[in-house]
């Protein structure tokens, strides 16, 4: 590992910037993500910040099964994210496509698409329909430990 990667990893554990992608979630997960970022849970304590562009992101928070239309954008977003970065497959749908598993327009799960892009990617699974804000924060911290 080069000194640059080591620097980045050291920094990411202390200031993970999160970019949120919805690849076809029913929106409930997204509302729960906003809950986790609201002042009550104060994610900024851990340096967590929601950013507006994948170029600034360290953690991609992907909610929902990957639909046909969102597969390519998800790949693009992963490509656009500067490495090193981590991915959180969010909610039952993110982990396994959940109740949408047999839908006609569902192309597969988040991990399949990301693994096709980059077999080495760090992916955390966060089940729940939707997960509680406390679970979200704990998953974020566990992802950072795994990096």
């Amino acid at each position: 590992m080069s000194w640059k990667d080591r620097l980045a990893l050291w920094g990411i554990k202390r200031s993970p910037w999160v970019y949120h992608i919805n690849t076809g979630a029913c929106n409930n997960c997204d509302i729960e993500i906003l809950d986790a970022l609201c002042p009550r849970y104060d994610a900024e304590r851990f340096g967590i910040k929601l950013v507006g562009s994948p170029r600034h992101a360290d953690v991609l928070l992907v909610s929902g099964p990957v639909t046909r239309h969102s597969e390519q954008p998800l790949r693009d977003a992963y490509e656009a994210t500067p490495k090193p970065c981590a991915v959180i497959a969010f909610g039952a749908c993110g982990c396994s496509s959940g109740i949408f598993k047999d839908g006609v327009n569902v192309n597969g799960t988040v991990d399949r698409v990301i693994r096709e892009e980059d077999p080495e990617a760090v992916i955390t699974y966060l089940p729940g329909c939707p997960p509680k804000p406390e679970a979200i924060l704990s998953a974020a911290l566990k992802t950072l430990e795994a990096l």
């Binding site: 640059k4 340096g47 507006g52 490495k83």
Partner: protein
């Protein structure tokens, strides 16, 4: 030779990059902490801005295919260097009591360059969102520069047509009616210069995804963030030098620090109690209300100067 050495110390360590960066990092932490306390949160740890910068330095630098690589990478550097140079001019004046002919004018130009760097960088990145952001930044610069310069003209008149920071900061310029008006106008223009809410129109996270900075990653983004931290230190200091009689020497430095805290907390409070304006609203606001107020200040200062009335 000696002189050359001395000035590189000025540039790199004391009042230049080193010192300014430390204060800028603290100011950026104060900004985030006070914001957090206003929202009844705990807020980030003291070293959070350092963590952010270190992380960005370590990350990969992505250069988009659509970008002009040279301009794209140079723009942040130019902005940073301009901010560092203004830190030297302001610092040398405030802490070492030195100044040179017409340094106020040099400062006005140097403090404009970071905004221009954002415009140039955003346009060079070839992203449509970035170019919208850059065009908004350009409109914003044109909107707030006019009242800001009128406010500075007020101060110049009040200080007996002097362009030297040393003369201007020798006494607090806010001690007259025109000074108070000019101070209010400048405070609001500084808010726009920092691109803080309600004037964060170019960066509008929710609609433009950080606008001109969208395509930046890694080191160049770190430099932009560092420039913003420098400005967070510089612009309040600029106001203090011009309006509040400078930082002061000896025990006066404590008093100067209090002035600095007052201004930065004012900026943070404005930021946290206002929603974002649209770009047309901002331009109208600056070109009518602020320009009128600043024009009035110039008028009062002129009348006071001609008839020798000190309190105007």
């Amino acid at each position: 030779m000696e002189n050359w050495l001395l000035w590189s110390v000025y540039l790199l360590i004391f009042p230049g990059i080193g010192f300014a960066m430390v204060v800028g990092i603290l100011a950026s932490w104060v900004d985030r902490k006070v914001t957090a306390r206003i929202q009844f949160r705990v807020g980030p740890p003291l070293l959070q801005p350092v963590y952010d910068l270190v992380k960005l330095v370590g990350k990969e630098v992505v250069i988009p295919v659509s970008a002009q690589p040279g301009v794209f990478l140079l723009a942040p550097l130019v902005g940073f260097v301009a901010a560092a140079l203004s830190a030297v001019i302001l610092g040398v004046n405030n802490f070492l009591g030195q100044s040179f002919l017409a340094d106020l004018i040099v400062l006005v130009y140097l403090l404009l360059i970071p905004s221009l760097a954002i415009i140039v960088g955003g346009s060079a990145s070839g992203n449509p969102h970035s170019s919208i952001g850059a065009s908004r930044e350009m409109k914003l610069v044109m909107a707030y520069e006019l009242p800001l310069i009128l406010a500075i003209v007020t101060v110049i008149i009040n200080a007996g047509f002097s362009l030297d920071l040393a003369v201007i900061s020798a006494e607090p310029q806010i001690s007259s009616i025109s000074g108070v008006l000019a101070f209010i106008v400048s405070l609001i223009c500084i808010q726009a210069k920092l691109a803080e809410v309600p004037f964060d129109i170019p960066e509008a996270e929710t609609e433009l995804m950080e606008g001109p900075l969208l395509e930046y990653s890694g080191l160049p983004l770190a430099i932009f963030k560092a420039t913003h931290m420098l400005l967070l230190y510089l612009l309040p200091l600029y106001l203090i030098t011009i309006f509040l009689g400078g930082i002061g020497t000896g025990y006066g430095i404590i008093w100067g620090g209090l002035k600095y805290l007052l201004i930065i907390v004012l900026i943070i409070l404005i930021k946290n109690t206002n929603p974002r304006l649209r770009i047309d609203q901002a331009v109208v606001f600056f070109w009518t209300w602020m320009t009128a107020l600043a024009g009035l200040a110039v008028l009062l200062a002129g009348v006071g100067n001609i008839y020798g009335i000190g309190w105007l």
